[in-house]
């Protein structure tokens, strides 16, 4: 079991209803994709946020990563929609 700080932005944050939470992750959550699948079991607000999970972007410790990235050692994992700055 490891504890990570999860942060959400834009419509991911709005659908989940919070911008940040600390979560204990079971040992079988190895990658970002596993994390998203795990979150989807936590309730309909998470299901709504990750309905189209292939569009979701992720960052570990504030650097962009793929869904296949292992999350071991992550302090902070962010999940958010494609960016629209500039």
């Amino acid at each position: 079991m490891s504890t990570v700080n999860l942060v959400y932005f834009s419509w991911v944050r709005e659908r989940i209803g919070k911008g940040e939470e600390m979560l204990d992750l079971p040992a079988d959550v190895v990658t970002v994709a596993d994390l998203i699948a795990h979150l989807k079991t936590r309730g309909e607000e998470y299901e709504a946020a990750f309905e189209h999970q292939n569009v979701i972007r992720a960052a570990i410790n504030q650097e962009h990563v793929d869904h296949a990235e292992p999350i071991a050692g992550a302090r902070e994992i962010a999940l958010f929609p494609p960016m629209t700055g500039g």
Binding site: F9, Q62, E63, F80, P81, M83, T84, G85
Partner: protein, 156 residues
């Protein structure tokens, strides 16, 4: 010598002239300065404001990575990037990029490169507020922006 890369993420407005002056201060080796300003449009009168959300810490770090890559790739002498967050009304500034180099092409390319990557990888999100008081949708990412970014990495 000033720091070659200046990045700021801030709520308040910026002054283009002041930023160009700061970048050029006490230097006589710069031959070309290109600036890009991104502004909030009114969308034919329908938009009352854009609300910009960002990921504090990562936004600055990501723009710094992009600017340093531009410095190396195009041989820029200096780059400044400032991005605002919060509620921004039509006509106001959103983003400023300044690229400086000995000759013009590197400065044009550098500013273009920084903006293309900033739009697709700096963690900012825009939400539209309408003049009728309704809060609209989050702005969708555009395929054209991904294509603009990808032309820099496409194999010749």
């Amino acid at each position: 010598m000033n720091a070659p890369v200046i990045v700021r993420v801030q709520r308040e407005d910026f002054d283009l002239d002041a930023e160009v002056s700061a970048l050029r201060r006490e230097r006589s080796d710069i031959g070309a300065v290109v600036t890009f300003s991104g502004l909030c449009r009114d969308e034919a009168g329908a938009l009352s404001a854009l609300e910009l959300e960002h990921y504090p810490g990562m936004a600055e770090a990501e723009i710094e990575r992009i600017c340093h890559e531009a410095l190396e790739r195009f041989g820029l002498q200096a780059a400044t990037a400032i991005h605002r967050f919060g509620k921004i009304t039509p006509g106001e500034n959103i983003v400023l990029v300044i690229a400086a180099s000995p000759h013009r092409q590197a400065a044009f390319d550098g500013a273009n490169f920084i903006m293309d990557f900033l739009k697709t990888s700096a963690p900012f999100w825009k939400k539209e507020h309408h003049v009728d008081g309704s809060i609209g949708e989050w702005v969708s990412a555009k395929d054209a922006d991904d294509a603009a970014r990808d032309r820099w990495t496409r194999k010749p």
